[in-house]
Symmetry: C2
Subunit: 288 residues, 2 copies
Amino acid sequence: MNSKDKNKPTLPGKASQSPIGIFDSGIGGLTVVKRLATTLPNENIIYFGDTARVPYGSKSNSTVIEYSIQNTKLLLGKNVKSVIVACNTASSIAIPELRKQFNIPIIGMIEPGAKMALQKTKNKKIGVIGTRATIGNLAYSSEIKKIDESISVIEKPCPLFVPLAEEGWTDHNATHKIAEEYLKELRDEGIDTLVLGCTHYPILSKIIQAVIGQNVSLIDSGVASSELIKEELQKLNLLTDSIEAGWQEFYVSDIQVKFKEVAELFLGKEIEHVHKVDLEELVQEHKS
Amino acid sequence: MNSKDKNKPTLPGKASQSPIGIFDSGIGGLTVVKRLATTLPNENIIYFGDTARVPYGSKSNSTVIEYSIQNTKLLLGKNVKSVIVACNTASSIAIPELRKQFNIPIIGMIEPGAKMALQKTKNKKIGVIGTRATIGNLAYSSEIKKIDESISVIEKPCPLFVPLAEEGWTDHNATHKIAEEYLKELRDEGIDTLVLGCTHYPILSKIIQAVIGQNVSLIDSGVASSELIKEELQKLNLLTDSIEAGWQEFYVSDIQVKFKEVAELFLGKEIEHVHKVDLEELVQEHKS
């Protein structure tokens, strides 16, 4: 597709009034919506969670790219002026292809998170926690080392943090014990900065901060990407001039048991309505 | 397909010497392989774990049926004489369609597990634990009540048990705390029988037994289904007459980080080789 496609305008008439699109493989990206709404409270936001095809971390690169293109097209069909890829897997794999195909600002999680960590660290020891897929791909460490080779990056997969966040066990004794187990190595290494390399993890930040120590800076990629998109849109003169609170719209490809409860925990407020996207149509649309 | 299909014979020449096929959406079914190898030590076993498309619990019924048909065809292509559906989701959704399409004994998890629980209970109070999808579908409770309406079934989703099993935290303090949280309601209700309604859970049976109490019978659907398939094959004169130890072959649609380690924990022994199945071919094969 190109920017002249009539059905999916990339930069329509009054682009600055258009919403910002965010997609994720599931619901973790709702923590990014929360951050974005704080950074840019007047912007409208459209969220798509590909809950029917979650997780992306176990899928091949070509599949993740294909799904990311479909998700971006879905958002462009709703007239967004930019896209945040609020999924660490899709960020590390699909962004070059998305930027090639779509003529709008596209921001991921890895680059902003890595940059913010580099700004924060003083002792040049950065920890990164994430899913097994993100850590296995060395997504953050290669991004950090690309910018500054002298940084020591210590990575640790924390697979239980996603289900703990989805259980809402943000203050549970078991979560504390598990965090102790996962983070002790990073604490022993004396990191001064810790990247939350998974959009679920901000839900557990209180416990993570308590266990890793108050002197360690936690990096929330949702905050980092929100600030970056603000800069980008400013440069392009694409920030809204509305002074009203922005609205938010939520789309998912599947609505699972307990969805609303978990989504509201992640978003930090009530969700009135969630639209279900037909997956068949999403795939067909992409082919046509 | 029908039983005359030349490429995928359902009951080939020397059927009793053919292997037994088992499929699951991932690796949980390896606990069933372990049970089956104990119950029928001379049988050869072919396992397929659809690790590229896990989990099935969040997918639509039609998708689960389609995948289950593909998986069964894959196993039939390897000449199996029967199929165990070692996935609770696929068991509860796809078995009627599989039995309609394929002319071999097909055994799931739900029916054998429910029947064994009914045989064990004395006070008619049965607990069922499983993933949110299995519990949400009331898979076990409707099967149990179909046989005996007077049974009281108390169900509880335990979403953290799958990642805890995959972490191998079979004896961890955090697992104990989480089991306490999940199982206290079932214990208070005074159940005398507890169905492990997820093939991952036998990995945690020691902790589950300790928390729920030694007087509660744990039902492992892997044991129940292995006994049922033994009966079925006996009736059909399809048990092997080999007196040698059976061999096992393992196929998956994706090999993730840490796969071997987790798989060997589940299987209870070393896996020499795992074959990767091409997902495109699997899907194409099904269409043709």
